[in-house]
């Protein structure tokens, strides 16, 4: 069988070269210029797939993006892509595709037996049929439904190809390259506008490709466009979304038409296009008519059959019958006659018409006032039953039934942009109303049909769009001429007769399903849509959406235009996740921030953890560490017993300057900072305006009008925004300047009893003696020749110095300290040991500063200044926030010292299951050599009592003693040593 359905000549295919391809494992041949669908039709293939729910045999129904049936799994292995429309797949040598949703084979499908139980699979069947027994859902119903109802299979493998994102600006974006789009682009381009013309097909021309007489104009116009340097034509590019401010999204299929993308070429490219003005020349989709068995392979849209014959040189059958309600469809049938197909006749729902007269003049039989009431054939059509005017029924032999119920202008993008849709009686369809963005619909998309009229309309729209962008279109361009048939339709939506009449062929939704939805109360189009799945497939109701609305309208006794269509939303066409995600996969998912010491950490065995965008060392594994805990405990012991060093470069750092800096910080922080002497640091706590604790850190005064503020790693950005908001909008009169200096300075904490001994060896220009540089002192110095600022602050509870140095000096300073501390056994310590040490000290961190706790809850209530305004002052005093019964910070230890603790466990009285609070942080104390934890516990006077720590998820239960949260050095003597 070799392309026996080809016409003798013509079409936009290259008959001089043959392409080999496989469908369901079988070898076929086609020509360059074919789609997979046209090539299969040329080879006589009629059965393309099985339907979504009922597994009915299906053929190709359309010739473009609106195809509901002919979906295939394209390519193999990791490159397998499900649900591709065969009508959009450009044929290439070696293409491999497989049909979907059939088992075991397309011709013999056991699930087609579902047709016998079809009454069970009516609208809303998911909601009604599988309700009982509940246990059956997971084990039986869901797997069965997933197997039976579905589309293609994802490969399950990582996509080996790359995708990229592109941003573009233009004066005029033209969507669609049919007669209207080409004319618009040419006029706007000639006016000097920067034009982008997007065409989703691989061949520009739209409806012109099926119109031989206008081929010369198409070629001339394309040549003129390619000669304009400011005009960009993007073929294989689908504009899928129209957003606010004339921002549109498009996806360009760069390498879908070759077996695999060439080197350094993405498979697809996602475009974000910002246009001054937009011309929507998206054409129209032909709609069908609902009649019994209107889904049989061999039933096809009339325009599709015309396209296959004229553009692809392919006869979609041997003997064609037309069922139509408009004159325009007759032209399609005539083109089939011109392609030497046998014509069985025309079934026209209308009284006599110009089209019927023209058909008779061509020797074609026309049954006027007639309708199709059924089709015959199993896996492909061989006969059509019609009801003639007067009621007599006849059977007509045909293997191709062309259907035309009129056209639906492709208003999706216009509607997404906010343009209201208005009803056009002539077309019995919606057309765009007055746009709300700078935008023009043109040609068939605006309801203007016929090549000449559409081109003229496009030229008008192109000039208007150019004018929007400030260009004057005064050059005359050639436009095609000629008459077009009248597109007026007699609104025939449905032929009522026995059998399944589909309104959504892809989702197996019938007229009966819509009526059932109505009877069961789903009377709004949006409800009926969701109940029946009408228009919910990849086809999105392009061909049948309005028919379902019309059936619902009849049930409601309303007009179609009053029932309307479901809301159009992006995406107009299915877009692969790869194109949306672009390069943001794997480690490129989000930006990563690295400290200047990152490579050193990595070289020294660090395991990293994410902290916001940062990667921080969790701990350092060295030889001899039995497990992760061994590393963490070793590092923490080094700090308690000798000296450790920790990279704290990720802490947020803000430089605050200005004559009102002290006033500003007094208003931002809950405690007083204006009294801070120059050269000193102070712990600072800020609240949110609602009175809840927000963030903590240190504030250092470097000069009378110069402060340096640190934040937690996680809150660096929110704190900066918080400061800016209040400075700019609440107190703009204050003389204060803010600057983020987080990655201006590397910072490291040198902590432990030998910290001073370590630093004195390498630090110059600062006397570290306790009396000269006491706890909370700040001073500038030089370390190993590099400038540093030294803060005597401590998070670990040990004698500690935080060293800040310019980012680029970080590594040298770190290494100098490591060298100086070697004699004392200095160890680098990571975030886990840092957490261990702070829990031992009872310092709060993210688990306690959780957006629900007040200063008093955390034991910091006395920090709040008694006088003067500050953020959170008024609302922190609300009764609910000062209730003494609120959970307060306490310490907990298991009474059996060998027991572990678990964060998240609830604290209850023995024998009770009423939660009194929860454990927020736990660790293994190196000082006490047992598990300890911090908890938020309701009720006063609980320290010294015993409670149960329960973790119901695992059934764990352990007795704990409630203690002070300050496990180590409660007098805070070490930090002052």
């Amino acid at each position: 069988m070799s392309q026996k359905f080809r016409t003798r000549s013509g079409g936009h295919i290259d008959r001089s070269r043959t392409l080999q391809f496989r469908f369901d494992g079988r070898a076929y041949q086609g020509y360059p210029g074919d789609t997979l669908a046209s090539a299969l039709l040329a080879n006589g293939v009629r059965l393309f797939g099985r339907s979504f729910k009922l597994h009915r045999p299906r053929g190709v129904f359309a010739a473009g993006a609106e195809e509901p049936n002919a979906l295939a799994e394209l390519r193999r292995g990791a490159r397998r892509e499900p649900n591709t429309r065969m009508t959009m797949i450009e044929l290439y040598n070696g293409l491999e595709a497989a049909s979907q949703n059939r088992f075991p084979s397309l011709r013999f499908d056991v699930m087609a037996a579902a047709g016998l139980v079809a009454p069970v699979l009516s609208a809303g069947f998911y909601y009604k049929t599988f309700m009982w027994p509940a246990a059956f859902w997971e084990k039986f119903y869901e797997p069965w439904i997933r197997r039976a109802a579905g589309l293609g299979r994802a490969s399950g493998l990582a996509d080996p190809d790359s995708y990229e994102a592109m941003h573009a600006h233009c004066d005029v974006l033209v969507v669609g390259s049919g007669a209207a789009g080409l004319a618009a682009a040419r006029v706007a381009g000639a006016a000097g506008a920067r034009v982008i013309l997007c065409e989703q097909d691989f061949l520009p021309g739209g409806g012109l490709l099926a119109e031989r007489p206008h081929e010369q104009w198409r070629e001339q116009t394309l040549a003129a466009l390619s000669a304009m340097p400011e005009v960009t034509l993007l073929s294989r590019t689908t504009v899928f979304g129209y957003y606010d401010c004339n921002v549109l999204g498009a996806v360009q299929r760069v390498a879908d038409h070759v077996p695999e993308p060439p080197p350094y070429t993405p498979r697809q490219r996602a475009w974000t296009i910002r246009a001054r003005s937009v011309v929507l020349a998206t054409g129209a989709h032909e709609r069908f008519i609902a009649f019994p068995d209107n889904d049989r392979p061999g039933v096809m849209l009339t325009g599709a059959a015309q396209t296959y014959a004229t553009r692809f040189g392919t006869r979609a059958g041997r003997r064609a019958l037309l069922f139509a309600n408009n004159d325009a469809a007759y032209d399609g049938l005539f083109s089939l006659q011109d392609a030497e197909m046998e014509i069985a006749g025309v079934v026209d729902a209308r009284p006599d018409s110009a089209g019927a007269a023209a058909a008779r003049a061509r020797g074609i039989t026309v049954w006027i006032g007639a309708s199709v009431i059924g089709t015959a054939g199993r896996q492909s059509l061989h006969g059509v039953r019609i009801r003639q005017h007067g009621g007599d029924e006849t059977r007509i032999s045909a293997d191709l039934l062309c259907v035309s119920g009129g056209i639906n202008p492709a208003v999706h993008l216009a509607s997404q942009s906010g343009t209201p849709l208005v009803w056009d009686d002539r077309l019995a369809s919606f057309v765009p109303g007055v746009p709300v963005q700078t935008q023009h619909s043109a040609g068939a998309a605006a309801g203007v049909t016929g090549i000449a009229a559409a081109a003229a309309d496009g030229a008008r729209a192109g000039a208007a769009a150019a004018a929007n962008a400030g260009f004057v279109a005064d050059a005359a361009i050639d436009l095609p001429c000629g008459d077009a048939p009248d597109p007026t339709v007699l609104p025939v939506w449905e032929v009522k007769a026995h059998g399944k009449a589909f309104v959504d062929i892809q989702d197996d939704v019938t007229t009966a399903d819509i009526r059932l939805a109505y009877r069961e109360g789903y009377r709004h189009i949006e409800h009926a849509k969701r109940y029946t799945t009408h228009t919910m497939g990849t086809e999105q109701g392009k061909t049948g959406g309005l028919i379902g609305a019309a059936v619902l309208a009849e049930a409601r006794g309303a007009r179609v235009q009053d029932v309307g269509l479901p809301t159009f939303r992006p995406f107009v066409m299915p877009v692969t996740w790869g194109a949306i995600v672009g390069a943001r996969v794997g480690e490129h998912y989000a930006p990563v921030r690295l400290t200047p010491l990152h490579d050193w950490h990595a070289r020294h065995g660090a395991t990293f953890m994410e902290a916001g965008a940062w990667l921080r060392p969790s701990f350092y594994r060295v030889t001899g560490d039995a497990d992760d805990w061994a590393s963490v405990l070793r590092e923490a012991r080094a700090v308690r017993r000798a000296v450790g060093i920790c990279d704290v470069s990720t802490l947020g750092k803000i430089d605050v300057q200005g004559s009102d800096a002290a006033t500003f910080l007094d208003r931002i922080y809950a405690n007083t900072l204006s009294s801070l002497p120059v050269g000193r640091a102070r712990y600072g706590l800020m609240l949110r305006e609602d009175g809840i604790a927000f963030d903590d850190g240190t504030v250092s005064r470097l000069g009378s009008d110069h402060f340096f503020v640190t934040t937690t790693t996680a809150n660096a950005d929110p704190v900066m925004a918080h400061l800016e908001f209040h400075l700019q909008t609440c107190w703009p009169e204050l003389d204060v300047q803010l600057a983020t200096v987080t990655d201006t300075f590397a910072a490291m904490s040198v902590a432990g009893p030998r910290a001073r001994d370590t630093l004195v060896q390498v630090l110059r220009g600062l006397d570290l003696a306790n009396h000269a540089f006491p706890f909370m002192a700040v001073g500038d110095a030089e370390l190993a020749g590099f400038p540093v600022r030294v803060f005597r602050i401590s998070f670990s509870g040990e004698l500690a110095y935080e060293i800040a140095t310019p980012w680029g000096c970080g590594l040298a300073v770190w290494q100098a300290i490591m060298q100086a501390g070697a004699a004392f056994g200095i160890e680098p310590y990571g975030v886990e040991a840092l957490g261990l040490l702070r829990i031992e000290k009872g310092h709060v961190a993210g688990a306690e500063l959780n957006g629900q706790t007040t200063a008093a809850d955390l034991g910091l209530g006395r920090m709040l200044k008694p006088r003067g305004d500050f953020i959170g002052r008024a609302l922190a005093g609300r009764p609910g926030l000062v209730d003494p019964g609120r959970p307060r910070l306490v310490g907990v230890m298991p009474t059996d010292r060998s027991n572990p603790l678990r964060a998240g466990a609830h604290l209850v009285e023995a024998g009770s299951s009423t939660s009194l609070g929860w454990i927020s942080s736990v660790t293994r104390s190196v000082e006490l050599e047992r598990w300890i934890g911090l908890a938020l516990l309701r009720g006063e006077g609980r320290i010294g009592t015993r409670l149960q720590a329960k973790f119901p998820l695992t059934g764990e239960k352990a007795e704990v003693a409630v203690v002070s949260p300050h496990f180590v050095d409660p007098e805070n003597a070490r930090v002052r040593a």
Binding site: A165, H167, Y243, D244, C245, V247, G249, A270, T272, V436, G582, R584, H588, Y589, A590, P591, M609, E610, A611, G612, A613, W614, S618, F619, D628, W629, V632, E689, D690, T712, T713, A714, D717, A721, E724, F725, H726, Q728, T729, C730, P732, V831, E832, G835, L836, I839, A845, G846, A847, G868, D869, A874, L875, R878, P900, R902, A903, S921, T923, R924
Partner: protein, 113 residues
Amino acid sequence: MKAACWTSVAPARSPGCNEAARMIRIDCPWCGPRDEIEFTYRGDATVRRPDADASAEALHDYVYARKNPRGWHKEWWHHVHGCRQYLQVVRHTLTHEVRSVARATDTLDLPVG
């Protein structure tokens, strides 16, 4: 047991700015027209922080009471990936149309209707 109980000091990483996220454009008085992805929405700009000696009730209204209008609304937008300035933006909550943009200290009235 893995030592991971206290390390929730920071939220999980959020995805990088998504080129596919497209919305409104804001004409920053300092930087020129910019995409919404450069900004962070901060909230209602029709409420102003009460004076230093205001009551808890006044602060309560400032923090919680919102009109939630259907139509024109004045909002704070923070140009975080630009000039770091808070801008007053008059936006239509139904259509997203941005009618006017002003500096934080400018007087900006809502359109009528």
